[in-house]
């Protein structure tokens, strides 16, 4: 094993090192995925690039009424940020479900995204929140919708040399909120068998005016289900609307049978989770059912 370790000072330098590496390279931020893979022998690396020295990489900053979250902000730090917690409680609860307290001390949302797991907890929540990732690469900087980054299990749309430097959670109007639920056999320390994130906006009368519903662990990548959103927009989340939404979610599933769950189970449960998450989001947004 001849893995090298680099800790560049700027994003451009990091991108350049990664772009010029002929061997296998990975970015290290929280390390809670990459070090597991390294340790388990799933990957063999020639180079690991620690991005924790980059400017603003550990910062949470206000921007256009939303928040920009650096790629090295840990779950523990993010959860202590009252502003983000108030604005996007569903994203926070999704992210905080990942791993243990110990893992939260290191894990990052950007890492969760770039790991490319279909079961990543924060990704459906970020997709529902319409979050974008800022990417720095050899050719400069670009922004990309979070849901466009994972392309298949373990793979992303990032090109060689590109790194995610921050995640942007946008502003949102009053009477809006989000929620995330996942199913795991244990209460903690588990991987989502199915998950659902729901982000809603309500009018003053409590009618849903906008909704984004994203599902996890039921397809090769996160799935945004517009058909499900349509079922609840214009409603006050009455039982019939929720039932239709739940059915639309189940219909959007393309899951696999594996050691963690069956196709049948994932398909059924994701609808239940979406329904329950929608009710939580609705209540958080000030709606009364």
């Amino acid at each position: 094993m001849t893995m090298r370790y680099e800790k560049p000072a700027t994003a451009q330098e990091a991108a350049s090192i990664l772009a010029n590496e002929p061997g296998v390279a990975r970015v290290l931020s929280g390390g809670t995925d990459v070090l597991v893979q390294l340790r388990a022998g799933m990957i063999e690396l020639d180079l690991i690039v620690d991005i924790k020295n980059l400017d603003q990489i550990k910062d949470i900053t206000s921007e256009d009424g939303g928040f920009r979250i650096g790629a090295a902000v840990s779950g523990a730090s993010l959860g202590e940020h009252a502003g983000v917690v108030a604005l996007w409680p569903g994203v926070i609860e999704a992210f905080e479900l990942i791993g243990s307290t110990q893992v939260q001390g290191r894990a990052t949302m950007a890492g969760n995204l770039c790991n490319g797991s279909p079961a990543a907890d924060s990704v459906p929540a970020m997709a529902a929140a319409n979050a974008t990732a800022r990417i720095v690469g050899p050719d400069g900087e670009r922004d990309c919708s979070v849901q466009d980054i994972p392309v298949s299990p373990g793979r992303t749309s990032l090109t060689k040399g590109e790194i995610v430097t921050s995640i942007f959670l946008p502003a949102r109007p009053e009477r809006a909120a989000d929620a995330y639920l996942r199913f795991t056999p244990r209460t903690e320390m588990d991987i989502a068998v199915a998950s659902a994130a729901v982000s809603l906006e309500l009018d003053a009368g409590g009618t849903c005016t906008a909704a984004r519903i994203a599902l996890g662990a039921i397809a090769p990548t996160v799935v945004l289900v517009d058909a499900a959103s349509k079922c609840i927009i214009g409603t006050k989340l009455d039982a019939a609307a929720l039932e239709a939404m739940s059915t639309a979610c189940s219909a959007a599933c393309n899951p696999i049978d594996d050691k963690r769950g069956t196709i049948e189970f994932r398909t059924q449960v994701v609808g239940v989770l979406a329904k329950r998450a929608a009710l939580i989001a609705y209540k958080r947004a000030g709606g009364r059912t």
Binding site: M1, A40, F183, P185, R186, T187, E188, M189, D190, I191, V193, K259, R260, G261, T262, E264, F265, Q268, V269, V272
Partner: protein, 747 residues
């Protein structure tokens, strides 16, 4: 050694909760566990494992690995001999595959190198040519004629015809006329069950440090439940005299039966012999799951008949256990335990052991009993539901008691099942209200408990304090209990006693820490050793006083004249006697060596309330109470700890834990992420109620407590789920996909 006649003895130390002697070391990180030892010049050993479930090893080319810089030794099966004893040969073959890889993860070669990185690199350079064979991992499939044969010619003489060669043994127990019994029943229920293989899940992976010197002497440091057993196995495998191999047990980070044999120790010794250097091997968690000893998986049929008023008239079970790639006897214990809780006129159990392409099972807390009793207690519970009977009253009505002819033959002496059931019945938990989708489950549990070979050396130090040397690794606070019993018997304060665990050269042979035997057997030997020391002290004092030895008695840590007739002497304390021991004949000690019997069977009753989410199949445990007879709880905190820990292992078994094999015969969940042991947030407090029905086989009435508590949770939870949602599952674990499917099928 029977229970002291002074039955109403008032204990001073026994029954209290003093701090454990190894506590400070363990809370400060100083305690030395298996992986914590180092030696000068130490090499790192690593093991290459089969990627196939079943394959002939055509050839192994280690030349490239040997040539790698920093590699000091490579071993394969060719470096080991062929032991005469078949059981030893099995152990050796399990440590290093001989000709055929029998399961995914079976060791095929090992290296010792300067660093872990070099060792890992060397493993990749070993070229093994395999001829992959058809495999079988399911017990029912493995039994069928035509199944892939794991090992040939291993079946015992008593196996009936009609099975595949994988069926290695058959056993049968019971008495009475089943036909007559079932004819008397108003309701007969017959069900089939399966349980998954589970792992003990100790947090400390196996680790050892071996050092062989060129003159043939060896030292081995390892985490084990029995250093003497390790010595026996390793000495035979290595062709050494027992005297030449000293084994020291480190602190042990959990065992639960899984550290009662060897997996890496002979490999480390062989690498050390070949390299001439000390070699440390530490298993990864992946290796622990793949290549140590989980428990058996089972397939079972149970048929029970009951009258309308709840009397069991006949009971019958067939148990099929697979214990991996080598023969084992676990099913015999399951077959004997299955109906032990009940007083039955007609009972019959048949069991078969079956080979599969899985790792050889090792003992796991009450080996064989939890699954059999799960099946039985499920059918008893279903009969109660069908007949509209109270499940606790039905169990009381049928409970084994003193004089019951047990389902495995002998007639029970004093046992605590009825008292335990009565305690459960009287407990507030039993009558607490339940909400929607909630249910309360109940199950009895049983385990034999064992005694076994035990030596204790008790030395009275010159200042009157006490040193105890015993030979059983302390897996859960036994040093505290042993010190307490010595303090009790000698009449000295607890903190004047220090108990240590000896290496194999310092004491005679001690059986493994298993069978819930340590507090019972080592305690018994300690009490007797103390009595021997007391006898010596009284003798010395008698000489000083010039009176008859019988005229000196021992009370409260002092030698006293037995009465006015013996003379008027000031009592001599243990400190005074010890201080002048040089003048009175030399050092004072008490020894005791015994193969202890009379451990006394143990019963427990568990109660659980669960809530099932009908939309997801998730089961949440709301309340859990364990009732168990401890005989005499020497250190109640650690008795409760055994009850709580065992219950939670059983809860994991019932709900989520399982070995998952793919169609390719490979283990899919060899890690703590997907082998789901319960975490703290999954559980409520585990309430405990200790009963003390003295065991007539122990001077203080002690009974083993460690194993029984893993037995009832399986059925307790299954019964609770059945009552919460009106659906009974017949397989474990009751994972949410299975439960949800059943809920939806019911509609």
């Amino acid at each position: 050694m029977a229970l002291d006649s002074k039955m109403n003895r008032v204990f001073k130390v026994v029954g209290t909760r003093p701090p454990r002697p190894d506590g400070v070391e363990k809370v400060t990180g100083r305690a030395m566990y298996g992986a914590d030892a180092t030696a000068p010049g130490m090499l790192v050993g690593r093991i290459l494992r089969s990627p196939h479930a079943h394959a002939i090893i055509k050839s192994i080319d280690v030349s490239a690995a040997e040539a790698l810089k920093g590699v000091k030794a490579v071993v394969t099966a060719a470096d080991f001999g062929v032991p005469d004893d078949l059981s030893i040969r099995d152990v050796q073959d399990n440590c290093m595959a001989q000709g055929k890889a029998l399961y995914h993860g079976h060791a095929v070669a090992a290296v010792a190198a300067n660093t872990a990185a070099i060792a890992s690199q060397a493993l990749k350079l070993i070229k093994v040519r395999y001829e992959v064979l058809p495999h079988v991992t399911d017990v029912d499939e493995a039994m069928r004629p035509g199944a892939p044969i794991v090992q040939e010619a291993r079946a015992l003489e008593n196996v009936a015809a009609g099975f595949s060669e994988n069926v290695t043994s058959q056993c049968e127990f019971g008495h009475g006329d089943l036909e007559v019994g079932f004819a008397k029943a108003d309701k007969v229920i017959e069900r089939s069950f399966t349980t998954a293989a589970t792992h003990q899940g100790y947090i400390e992976p196996h680790a050892c440090l071996a050092s062989m010197s060129p003159d043939g002497k060896g030292d081995l440091w390892c985490c084990t439940q029995g250093q003497f057993q390790v010595r026996t196995l390793c000495a035979e495998i290595m062709g050494m005299d027992a005297s030449q191999l000293r084994v020291t047990a480190s602190e042990i980070g959990g065992g639960f039966g899984g550290k009662t044999t060897v997996f890496i120790e002979p490999v480390a010794l062989a690498l050390s012999r070949k390299s001439g250097r000390p070699v440390k091997i530490v298993m990864t968690r992946d290796e622990v799951f793949k290549a140590t000893g989980p428990t058996v998986s089972s397939s079972m049929d149970v048929k029970i008949g009951m009258t309308n008023d709840g009397r069991i008239t006949a009971a019958q079970a067939q148990l099929r256990y697979q214990g991996g790639a080598f023969p084992c006897g676990t099913v015999e214990m399951g077959a004997q335990s299955a109906f032990a809780c009940y007083n039955l006129d007609a009972v019959h159990t048949v069991g078969w052991n079956v080979l599969t392409n899985r790792p050889k099972e090792a003992a796991y807390r009450a080996p064989g009993a939890p699954m059999a009793i799960y099946a039985v207690e499920s059918v008893v519970d279903e009969l109660c539901q069908e007949l509209g009977l109270d499940p606790l009253n039905v169990r009381l009505k049928n409970a084994s008691t003193k004089g019951t002819k047990s389902s495995y033959g002998p007639t029970f002496d004093d046992i605590g099942l009825r008292a335990t059931l009565e305690a459960a019945k009287a407990h507030p938990h039993c009558s607490a209200p339940l909400g929607p989708n909630q249910g309360r489950g109940l199950s009895c549990g049983f385990w034999f408990n064992f005694g076994g070979n035990t030596c204790v050396s008790l030395n009275i130090n010159t200042d009157g304090t006490v040193g105890i040397t015993e030979g059983n690794p302390d897996i859960g606070g036994s040093r505290a209990a042993i010190s307490q019993m010595a303090a009790e018997e000698l009449g000295v304060p607890y903190d004047k006693v220090r108990t240590i665990i000896a290496d194999t050269n310092s004491l005679g042979y001690n059986d493994v820490t298993d069978g819930s035997r340590v507090t019972f057997s080592v305690g018994l030997a300690t009490i007797e050793a103390a009595r021997n020391a007391i006898k010596v002290m009284c003798g010395r004092v008698a000489k000083i006083w010039g009176i008859d030895e019988d005229a000196v008695i021992w009370e409260d840590g002092c030698a006293k004249p037995s009465g006015a007739n013996a003379g008027d002497f000031t009592p001599m304390s243990i400190e005074e006697i010890a201080a002048i021991s040089s003048n009175t004949g030399g050092p004072i000690a008490g020894h005791f060596e015994v193969n202890a019997d009379g451990a006394g069977v143990s019963f427990g009753v568990h109660l659980a309330d669960v809530e099932v989410d009908p939309e997801t199949g998730a089961t949440k445990i709301l309340r859990y109470t364990v009732f168990q007879d401890a005989g005499k709880a020497v250190h109640p905190d650690y008795v409760e700890g055994q009850m709580q820990g065992g219950a939670v292992q059983g809860i994991g078994w019932a709900l989520n834990e399982e070995y998952i094999y793919g169609k390719d015969g490979l283990l899919q969940n060899a890690g703590f992420l997907d082998y789901r042991v319960p975490v703290a947030s999954d559980l409520p407090n585990i309430e405990t109620v200790i009963l003390e029905i003295p065991n007539p086989g122990h001077p203080y009435g002690v009974r083993g407590v460690g194993e029984t508590p893993i037995v009832p949770p399986l059925a307790t939870l299954s019964n609770a789920v059945a009552r919460a949602i009106g659906i009974r599952l017949f397989e474990l674990p009751m994972s949410p996909p299975k439960l949800l499917k059943a809920i939806r099928q019911k509609g």
